[in-house]
């Protein structure tokens, strides 16, 4: 049971922070299918920074390097997201198309630069940056409480970081002046414009935040699931995050629920495969659990879903 909670949380939270990124973008009115590309590119920048600083020798400074990676991933994600913002806002491209193109471009660019950097540093053009696994901690005392204690046992370092960032992101979205304007942009950009606020600017920043948060989530996945950066980072987590935020009706609270459900379904599936001592081939069947569950739940909840009113609309000042 404990392991389900520990592993579930470790998967759900990075997914959650990426989904929050998606919420920022979509609540401002910009459809974001590019989360996958953002998280991959962000993680790539973080991993590349670590590799460049340590030349592959992270022993002894794993923790410090983990924070370096976080920082660079956030920046990398935000900068890369500018591309989506540029295409969607001043260039008025179709937002869905832009998202797809940016995902393709992210895969291509990171693969290209990874092999370039590796061949410069190590003389070998491999497609992987080795990172090691993120450190964990256990809160003494509380961790002994049954079930609840599992939430405080073997916690990845990034878990509290994500919780803090998520809380702050909720505050900004729902309480701050910027958040008020951002959500208004997704409902009626004309009202925002008439109120003297620059819609393009708000949306641009929203997409960049979306990139920053995706980068954060991406590097956490790189540190936990794969312990390295490689093309396998593009495993569809960005799309899962989109499913989670649609499922959560573009609100942060319900989206957390969707992500937790997803994380626990996943870790429970793995555990189940272990307990039943199934042949390794059966793990494939277990793996579909979260996706089937999502699809089933979407069947029940999609009809009442209300996307932001101005989502995907290209805002043109001249039109009314």
């Amino acid at each position: 049971m404990d392991i389900i909670i520990i592993e579930g949380l470790a998967f759900a939270l990075p997914l959650f922070i990426i989904a929050i990124g998606g919420i920022y973008s979509e609540r401002s009115g910009i459809t974001n299918l590019a989360l996958e590309g953002f998280l991959g590119f962000g993680a790539f920048i973080g991993a590349a920074a670590v590799t460049a600083f340590t030349r592959g020798n992270v022993a002894g400074i794993e923790v410090q390097m983990f924070f370096v990676a976080l920082l660079f991933s956030v920046i990398g994600g935000a900068v890369f997201a500018m591309l989506h913002a540029l295409l969607c806002i001043p260039f008025k491209a179709n937002q869905v198309i832009s998202g797809v193109v940016i995902n393709i471009l992210a895969v291509a660019l990171t693969a290209f630069f990874t092999s370039q950097i590796n061949s410069v540093i190590f003389g070998k053009p491999t497609n992987k940056f080795v990172l090691g696994v993120c450190e964990k901690f256990t809160v003494p005392g509380i961790s002994k409480i049954p079930i609840l204690g599992a939430f405080f046992t073997d916690v990845y370092y990034y878990v509290p970081i994500i919780i803090v960032v998520a809380l702050f992101a909720s505050y900004v979205l729902y309480k701050s002046r910027f958040g008020l304007r951002l959500r208004a942009c997704g409902d009626n950009p004309h009202a925002v414009d008439a109120a003297g606020v620059d819609v393009s600017k708000v949306r641009f920043i929203a997409v960049m935040i979306s990139g920053a948060l995706s980068g954060l989530g991406g590097i956490c996945f790189a540190y936990s699931i794969s312990t390295s950066f490689s093309p396998s980072i593009y495993a569809g987590y960005g799309f899962l995050a989109i499913a989670a935020l649609i499922f959560g009706n573009w609100k942060i609270g319900p989206t957390l629920g969707a992500c937790l459900l997803f994380g626990f379904a996943r870790s429970a599936g793995y555990k189940l495969a272990q307990v039943l001592e199934l042949a390794s081939t059966f793990s494939d069947i277990i793996m579909i659990l979260p996706y089937v569950l999502t699809l089933l739940l979407l069947m029940f909840f999609s009809s009442t879903n209300r996307p932001p009113r101005a989502l995907g609309e290209i805002y043109d000042k001249g039109k009314r």
Partner: protein, 400 residues
């Protein structure tokens, strides 16, 4: 006084440099915009690619030539035994075939306002179904080949229809359901391959029988050993069939209305939900064709747990081809040449193979800006036009 000042300002605007004026004239022709703007985007991205290659210290011209050589458009300096330009070309066509079908699949859905991001999953289901039913049978070629196509169309179409139905019945966004189904099929099929159809050496599914393969392999002809992609024969007729469907049939008319304006479609008495299911079924069927030509053509086996990138690239290829069936024939060719020639370029010029992927990405990026280019061109046209108008008006005023 005031007028003079303004006219002077206007004149400055009208003296646009001849290069811009030329570009505007070429790109501004609305009849040809659907061709000229993608071409412009391609040109821009090749330019950008050339700059990247220059940065790597290599010659971009040589690189681009080697791309063409690698895909059998231009002759290489030397060939291995029983190989020449024709064998390279056929090998490129072999990869091109599934790409065309996949991009057509994207186009049909797109015309109905749906985004079929699940092409890869539909291809996999179709390919797997055809592999286990026909591929592992002893049927003779005359029976096997048509059956492979039919199985592919039926299974691909069924998955597509499912996605359409989920949208129609439960309002599930087709992007989300496609992605979920992609995962589900990927793992289920992986389970079956791992459990029943695994070739332990290659870690892939066992090869399909040669009789069920849509590509004739290692055919000895004129002293050459070549692969002949039979599936390709179908691509051009199918592209025209899709064109006919969209432009000349009642169904196509209905699908397009649904794609352009769902409310108007309902108002006109069209059953929007049914149209979406039909459109996705057709899209899925085309993806099924892509699946069988890939898994029982280009390849003869399926790698478990891997979705082919053809499905995602095809979205971009379709957009590059303006979602027009004939445009898609050309855009597929271009993207396939770049990806197929990438290997050879990498080995000949000594730049990483990934650069081909980057160039593809850039082409797509620039073509996504097509609407913006069109908008700028219109703006520039207006400017030039207004300048003229102004001068004419002034002339009139003078006469009065």
């Amino acid at each position: 006084m005031r007028k003079d000042k303004n006219t002077a300002g206007r004149d400055k605007n009208t003296t646009i440099n001849p290069f811009v004026r030329g570009a505007v004239t070429i790109l501004g022709n609305e009849k040809h915009q659907s061709i000229s703007i993608p071409l412009f985007a391609i040109l821009l991205s090749l330019l950008a690619g050339a700059i990247v290659i220059l940065f790597l210290g290599k010659n971009p011209i040589d690189s681009f030539i080697s791309l063409l050589q690698g895909s059998g458009i231009l002759p290489k300096a030397q060939y291995a035994a029983k190989k020449n330009m024709l064998t390279d070309f056929l090998s490129m066509i072999n990869s091109l075939t599934p790409m065309i079908f996949a991009a057509l699949a994207v186009a049909v859905a797109l015309k109905t306002g749906l985004f079929n991001i699940g092409i890869s999953g539909q291809m996999l289901v179709a390919g797997f179904a055809a592999t286990v039913t026909v591929g592992y049978s002893n049927l003779p070629m005359a029976a096997a080949l048509p059956l492979v196509l039919v199985v592919g169309i039926v299974f691909g179409g069924a998955v597509g229809a499912l996605i359409g139905w989920l949208k129609h019945r439960f309002n599930i966004n087709e992007v989300v359901s496609s992605i979920m189904l992609n995962y589900i099929f990927q793992y289920i099929i992986s389970f079956f391959i791992n459990s029943y159809y695994m070739n332990p050496v290659t870690r892939q599914s066992r090869q399909v029988s040669a009789a069920a393969r849509l590509t004739l392999t290692d055919v000895e002809l004129y002293g050459l050993k070549m692969d002949i992609p039979l599936g390709f024969i179908l691509t051009i007729p199918v592209a025209f069939l899709v064109l006919f469907l969209l432009n000349k049939t009642r169904l196509g008319y209905e699908l397009k209305i649904v794609g352009l304006n769902r409310k108007a479609a309902k108002y006109a008495g069209i059953k929007v939900g049914k149209s979406m299911v039909i459109s996705m079924a057709i899209s899925g069927a085309l993806a099924g064709l892509a699946g069988v030509t890939l898994y029982l053509g280009t390849f003869a086996s399926i790698q478990p747990r891997v979705l082919t990138s053809v499905g995602f690239d095809s979205i971009a290829v379709c957009l590059l081809g303006n979602a027009h069936p004939i445009g898609i024939l050309f855009s597929s060719l271009l993207i396939t040449i770049i990806s197929k020639g990438g290997n050879y370029m990498s080995s000949m010029v000594g730049i990483p193979q990934e650069i081909a992927q980057v160039i593809t990405g850039l082409i797509l990026l620039f073509s996504a800006c097509g609407a913006y280019i069109r908008y700028r061109v219109e703006l520039a046209k207006e400017n030039i036009g207004n300048g003229k108008l102004r001068i004419e008006n002034n002339g009139e005023g003078g006469q009065k």
